[in-house]
Amino acid sequence: MAQMNMIQALNSAMDVAMGRDPAVVVLGEDVGFFGGVFRVTDGLQKKYGEQRVFDTPIAEGGIVAAAIGMAVNGLKPVAEIQFADYVYPAYDQIVSELARIRYRSAGEFTAPVTVRMPCGGGIRGGQTHSQSPEAVFAHVCGIKIVMPSNPHDAKGLLIAAIEDPDPVIFLEPKRLYNGPFDGDPHKPAVSWNGHPQGEVPEDHYSVPLGKAQIVRSGHAVTIVTYGTLVHVALAAAEKLGLDAEVIDLRSIVPLDVETVVASVKKTGRCVIAHEATRFAGFGAELSATVQEECFWHLEAPIARVAGWDTPYPLAFEWEYFPGQARLAAALKAVMESR
């Protein structure tokens, strides 16, 4: 075991994957000599050479398209999109190509590409460096979507994603890169050092895709969340002294419906929280699923906590971010309802 932040854990995942399988290659803007703007690919080119770790032109559509061609030719590319906000030029290649090559060729061709991208706000990124586009991809059939909330899961999920036979969109909440974040920007930043989930095996292991984790057990209410909001939810539950069960989905697709449903049937109350915008966000799918599966167990309407339905504004980042206060208000409403 070693102490790692999320950047080091992700780096270790690629290092381990590349060491085990010569088909794994890493490509993206600034990922080679420089090691990535967030340092996630630091040292990989030096260790594995520029045939396996290389810089690309600033063309996200080209990066994904080239990765598809490489995967069709037997490689396992890990493509970095520098910010999730930059992924849209690649949207057609992801939606119409990457997600459907297995389907349209009846399994003759496959493209097991991992597309990594930092997402989320809280770093003064404004509307072009803060988005969480998971719902935009969740609506697409044929890709898996992952968002870890801690270094241990980040490494295990990234290894699982690289080894998976299907394409995976791997979203990295960048506010969590250096430490857990409970949503309070006024508190001094904490590091992953000493956090139990900052304990990361140096060797190979994987965290299964499609498997949620109960990060706090409770009986009064279920909070279904993922990414940065996992830490906000834990802090809010603690502060309110609520016997809340907190579920970290970890995978958006495939969705671990079983874990969510079992919990809500137990607690009878459900709050869904994510950083992305609310309208037609992934919370809507979660809410509909919980309603369909748990209606007769519900003692209160399901509540959703999310970013506002506006672009992510630079100067009002913390008024936008769904922090503890917004979550606490939703929890109180759900607890008071009968």
Partner: protein, 411 residues
């Protein structure tokens, strides 16, 4: 209003009712264009993007330095493949009119683009075809009946009823799955070629796309990546003058040629007579030799004419003169190769008629066999429950539930 402020909208020289006018197509006499060594520096190849490489002259004789010097058997194999393509196209068009298939796209008039280029490559080279490259599938030995079953979406359909007719694939024959979205395959071919070099394999990739779809960002990405990594790939731009109703000038703008985009990215660009089997073969060989020597990609503009409609959903008489195909200055690729072989005394009208008869019988027999596996209107039908397969490698729970729900609906 001052003329300076008017939007310039390129338009074709002739519309329905007008006399066809191809004076905008720059021609060069057969044999007149020099052939640089395939290892030449890009500036020494730059003239190739403005000239027009031609081998067969107006009397169907092979001329000049680009003559690939093919033996008669190879020429006859090319003729056969193009003839098969044409007969197949005609038969499938008829099948569409008979309501047996829902949609079809012919390659009439541009058969050399697939056949000659495909023959100049190795069987292990990976091909990323457009939807008008059926010649490649015949060439690589995909059975005619198999292609027909795809058009019929029947129980033997390689795509399991998931794809529009003509969007074939064959992993075994190294023919990539054709997308319905244009030009997406071009940067993918570059990625495939990059992987070949990373793996240390000597294989090339070749992609085909129409001149209209070169306007897509994907083609720009393909050029940038191919140039940066010197990927062993041949980027074919099939300039058949028309993108549905859109004249090639809408995609070309004031560019001197589509081939000229090659040198602009530091790659050779070659403008070639796309209806000249020998010229297309020679240019493809040149580009392949260059790529195999580690010198990277070549852009090839194949100048041809889409003699048929864009698809069975299109009516070209509404936007171009009817007589355009017969006025096309580069003739018909099949006729030209046939006359060349006859001139060499390696072919005859009688042999051609016999070939035509043999291939017609082959296509008709294949059609009968294919229809036995079902058509749009006649059973058997493929199992609709298979629609849930291959979305992922393993069917996730939500799809299993939906599959069970459909099974219940179907009773």
């Amino acid at each position: 209003m001052s003329p300076v402020s008017r939007l310039h909208v390129p338009h074709p020289p002739a519309r329905p009712g007008d006399t066809p006018d191809f004076s905008y197509v720059r021609l060069c006499p057969a044999g007149s264009v020099k052939r640089p060594d395939p290892t030449a520096a890009v500036p020494e190849t730059e003239f190739l993007s403005r000239e027009l490489v031609r081998v067969l002259d107006d009397s169907h004789k092979a001329q000049g330095p680009w003559n690939p010097g093919l033996d008669a058997d190879t020429l006859r194999a090319g003729l056969r493949n193009m003839q098969l393509t044409r007969i197949y196209d005609e038969r499938m068009l008829r099948a569409h009119r008979q309501g047996r298939i829902s949609f079809y796209m012919q390659s009439t008039g541009e058969e050399a683009v697939a056949t000659a280029a495909g023959m100049a490559l190795d069987p292990k080279d990976m091909l990323f075809p457009s939807y008008r490259c059926q010649g490649l599938h015949f060439l690589r030995g995909v059975r005619t009946v198999k292609l027909m079953c795809q058009l019929l979406s029947n129980t033997q359909d390689m795509c399991k009823g998931r794809q529009l007719p003509v969007l074939y694939h064959s992993a075994e024959k190294r023919l990539f799955s054709i997308s319905g979205n244009l030009a997406t395959q071009v940067p993918q071919a570059v990625g495939w070629a990059m992987a070949a070099t990373i793996k240390g394999e000597p294989h090339l990739a070749a992609a085909w796309t129409g001149e209209g779809s070169t306007a897509e960002g994907d083609v720009h990405h393909a050029f940038v990546f191919a140039s940066a990594y010197r990927a062993p790939v041949i980027l074919n731009i099939v300039n058949n003058q028309w993108a549905i109703s859109t004249f090639q000038g809408i995609a070309a703008g004031d560019s001197p040629s589509f081939a000229a985009r090659g040198p602009a990215f530091g790659m050779p660009g070659i403008r070639v007579d796309g209806n000249d089997f020998l010229a297309v073969y020679a240019v493809t060989r040149w580009a392949a030799e260059r790529a195999r020597k580690g010198l990277g990609a070549t852009v090839v503009e194949l100048v041809t004419y889409r003699a048929g409609a864009h698809s069975t959903s299109d009516d070209p008489s509404r936007y171009r003169p009817k007589a355009e195909a017969s006025a096309w200055p580069l003739g018909d690729p099949l006729q030209r190769l046939k006359q060349h072989l006859i001139g060499l005394k390696e072919w005859s009208e009688e042999r051609h008629q016999a070939l035509h008869k043999e291939l017609t019988t082959h296509v008709n027999d294949a059609w009968k066999e294919a229809c036995e596996f079902g058509t749009l209107s006649e059973p058997p039908r493929p199992d609709p429950l298979t629609m849930f397969e291959d979305v992922f490698a393993q069917m996730p729970q939500h799809l299993q539930r939906q599959q069970a729900q459909l099974a219940k609906e179907l009773g």
